[in-house]
């Protein structure tokens, strides 16, 4: 691999387009010093006629999926027909020049002279030619799998004076499907990251020794590109691209959605880094800036950054507009502080950072999400504005516990609708815990097959302060558990069986986790009752260690309640618990200190933990000595 920027297309002709035929299949006219690339171009005179220049491949071949690039010129544009009448046409012929299809690409009303690069996908061209146009067919329109000739045909109804050629065709290329038209490899000079300007320079349209016609800087300072670009090589070398504040736009040509795009690749043995913009801060506090923009007003473009061997692929402070599929599911990828406008989809599972991005006018439809991920936790402090369909689809493999940190959804539909903010398509139960301004009202959910979603408000704190008069009391045993109504187990009926010292509890949809504590009560066998630490064995089951050998199964009416606090107060007389509550939760409990002086009469605790605000409780204790 060289440190270079490479034209990835396949040339159809020599630099000077020598050896072209005219539109009848006969050898074309002479070389002409009028050229955009190389030393010459081929030319022909069209005056009060329709004719042109064709490249003859010699045999008909399968060129389906190819995009063609042709430099052409006309020095009498005012004498050409209009676009609608086919002033300039891109023509593809089969094994004979009498069987062809063509599309109209310019005319006296759209073209003012000078070499122009025409870019067109052959399949799109045939569809247009054989369809609604503008364009047409001659003889039998060949299939794109059997093409021998390609070139430009001019319709010049005006009388061109003198014996001077007026129609020119210069270098021509084709680009097979899924092939980058520009490859950016290695480092600039072997040491520096490449930039967009380096690519513009490598393809300099004003240099007859280059003039690729695939990228140029326009007069307004933006960079126009008409071919997919690949950064990096799967080899053991170092590859780097870094730039700021460049605005790149994809040309509106006759190519399909997904033809244009950016791909970054690497190799485990080498290094590949791709950075647009600047990053400030770390973690979830990071912000991005000066990333410039990549936009398209025509065909949708792809962004593929998920090669596992890429060391870093980072987009900071960018505007990404008109994209199709964006594949961002790799830990090496960071997308921070970007505006994502009118894009179709983004896969962000396990992305390193998808942080502080704004999704506007997503190109989605009812029931279709813009972002797909297996874990909403991958998305942080992002803002989604409704256009249509869902904001996020949760996919398999299912992640049972997820977080939505600071994500906002504006304008989305209600629960169960095809426009709900979240579409749980993970085929299982998912709990999404909200925090940092994320609200349950905005996190509306549509459930997919076999899916269920529990949206849990952000973590709040339940504080118990124990006082003797106004003096904090330390080392008071505080025990608080759920009761009454709420989202946690509160005196839920259970059944208990025992094997040895292990009691197994059947507790439907308990929602608890291993190491949680429960209060079991109501079993006729006292050994089953008490406060226990559980080990979860299933969504409906858990176990705990029981003493003795009580009868199995347990009799009576055993119930289970989640214990929220079980511990001793600190020197400030305080003990606290912070967790997310699915809804307001009734609680009850005791504050007791009865074994070392001063001892107190047990104090009762009751209240309701507000799922949004928590609950501060003060327990006054009375001495018992």
């Amino acid at each position: 691999m060289a440190d270079s920027i490479v034209d990835g297309r396949t040339s159809l002709t020599t630099n000077d387009a020598t050896g072209l035929d005219d539109h009848t299949g006969a050898p074309a006219g002479s070389n002409n010093l009028t050229r955009v690339e190389g030393a010459n171009s081929q030319s022909v005179k069209e005056s009060m006629s329709v004719g042109g220049l064709l490249f003859d491949n010699g045999t008909a071949v399968d060129w389906s999926g190819n995009v063609f690039y042709l430099w052409w010129n006309n020095t009498t544009p005012g004498l050409m027909d209009t676009l609608a009448s086919g002033g300039v046409r891109l023509r593809f012929c089969g094994n004979t020049v009498t069987d062809w299809f063509e599309i109209y690409i310019a005319g006296s009303d759209t073209y003012s002279g000078g070499f122009t690069m025409t870019v067109a996908d052959i399949d799109e061209a045939r569809a247009q030619a054989t369809g609604a146009g503008p364009g047409g067919v001659g003889g039998t329109a060949p299939a794109t799998t059997a093409i021998r000739y390609v070139g430009i045909v001019w319709d010049v109804p005006g009388n061109v004076p003198g014996n001077v050629d007026n129609c020119y065709l210069d270098a021509m290329w084709r680009l097979p499907a899924n092939t980058p038209g520009i490859r950016v490899e290695g480092l600039n000079g072997g040491s520096s990251d490449w930039t967009w300007q380096d690519i513009v320079d490598a393809a300099d349209v004003k240099d007859v020794n280059k003039a690729w016609g695939t990228i140029e800087r326009l007069k307004n300072g933006t960079i126009s590109v008409n071919t997919p670009v690949r950064f990096g090589v799967a080899d053991s070398d170092g590859h780097g691209f870094a730039d700021t504040n460049e605005n790149v736009g994809w040309e509106d040509a006759l190519v399909p959605d997904g033809f244009y795009g950016i791909e970054v690749i690497g190799d485990a043995a080498g290094t590949t880094d791709f950075v647009l913009g600047l990053k400030s801060g770390t973690g979830d506090d990071a912000t991005g800036s000066q990333g410039g923009s990549i936009t398209s007003g025509g065909p949708r473009w792809f962004l593929t950054l998920n090669d596992a061997d890429v060391d870093s692929a980072q987009l900071y402070g960018m505007t990404l507009a008109g994209a199709g599929v964006m594949v961002l599911d790799d830990p090496a990828i960071e997308v921070i502080s970007c505006i994502i406008l009118d894009c179709s989809s983004a896969l962000v599972s396990n992305a390193g950072d998808f942080l502080r991005n704004t999704i506007v006018a997503a190109a989605t439809a009812d029931g279709v999400a813009f972002i797909t991920t297996d874990d909403l936790t991958d998305i942080v402090f992002c803002s989604f504005s409704f256009s249509d369909g869902h904001g996020v689809e949760l996919t398999t493999p299912r992640v049972a516990s997820q977080a939505s940190k600071g994500n906002r959804f504006t304008g989305y539909g209600t629960d169960t609708s095809n426009d709900a903010a979240i579409y749980n398509n993970s085929a299982g139960a998912v709990t999404v815990t909200l925090s940092d301004g994320a609200t349950s009202g905005e996190h509306t959910v549509r459930e997919g097959a076999s899916a269920s979603t529990l949206i849990v408000s952000g973590a709040v704190t339940h504080t118990v302060t124990v006082l003797d008069g106004v003096t904090p009391v330390e080392s008071v045993r505080v025990l608080v558990w759920c009761t009454g109504t709420g989202g946690f187990p509160s005196e839920d009926p259970i059944s208990i069986t025992r094997s040895g010292a292990t009691a197994t509890v059947d507790h439907t949809a308990h929602g608890m986790a291993t190491s949680d504590e429960v209060r079991i009560e109501g079993a006729a066998e006292q050994e089953y009752n008490g406060i226990f630490t559980i080990a979860v064995t299933g969504v409906d089951d858990y176990t705990y260690t029981v003493s003795g050998s009580p009868a199995t199964p347990a009799t009576g009416s055993p119930t289970s309640s989640l214990v929220l606090i079980n511990g001793l107060t600190n020197a400030s007389g305080v003990i606290a618990d912070t967790r997310s509550y699915p809804s307001n939760q009734d609680i009850t409990g005791r504050a007791v200190k009865g074994t070392s002086s001063p001892v107190y009469v047990p104090g009762d605790i009751t209240g309701t933990v507000d799922s949004a605000a928590g609950l501060p409780v003060t327990v006054p204790l009375v001495r018992d000595e």
Binding site: A523, N529, R590
Partner: protein, 158 residues
């Protein structure tokens, strides 16, 4: 063996061995009610005991006008107390209590030994003025006044 509380049935069991023998024949053992209170309090202060309703109330010793009044330990129903069954007597000390009210009937006889330092007598409860409720001083005074008026009226009619 220590005091045990069966939270399901509410039965508080006191082992015979926890009580010292003060008389061999017939066998009498003494039971420290204050220590009993402390033991129950410790049980309540444990993780396993804290969730359950209180077993008892306790009023510490208090000094009124130089006189020390005994502490009071009162077991709260539905809790009950059972002395380990056998043929012996239990002599309680250390506090006034209601053990006799909550004791499970068995072969054990309980010597309560409460000291009534202050006895509640209904006629002397307050307030008295204007109080003509039955069994109150107000009623007695009201009755006396009525009888006095009736006597005066009878004397005047003669």
């Amino acid at each position: 063996m220590a005091i045990d509380v069966d939270w399901v049935s509410g039965l508080i069991t006191i082992p015979k061995a926890d009580m010292s023998v003060v008389q061999v024949s017939p066998e009498i053992r003494e039971f420290d009610v204050e220590q009993f209170h402390q033991d129950l309090r410790a049980i309540h202060a444990s993780v396993q005991g804290a969730p359950y309703p209180r077993t008892h109330t306790h009023k510490a010793e208090s000094v009124l006008s130089g006189v020390t009044y005994a502490r009071i330990v009162e077991i709260i129903p539905p809790y009950t107390v059972e002395f380990e069954d056998d043929q012996y007597g239990v002599q309680a000390f250390g506090a006034n209590h209601n053990l006799l009210d909550v004791k499970v009937a068995n072969q054990v006889s309980l010597l309560v030994q409460n000291s009534a330092g202050l006895v509640r007598v209904n006629p002397w409860e307050n307030p008295q003025a204007g109080n003509t409720e039955p069994d109150t001083m107000g009623e007695l005074l009201d009755d006396a006044a009525t009888k006095s008026r009736q006597a005066a009226a009878l004397a005047a009619s003669k």
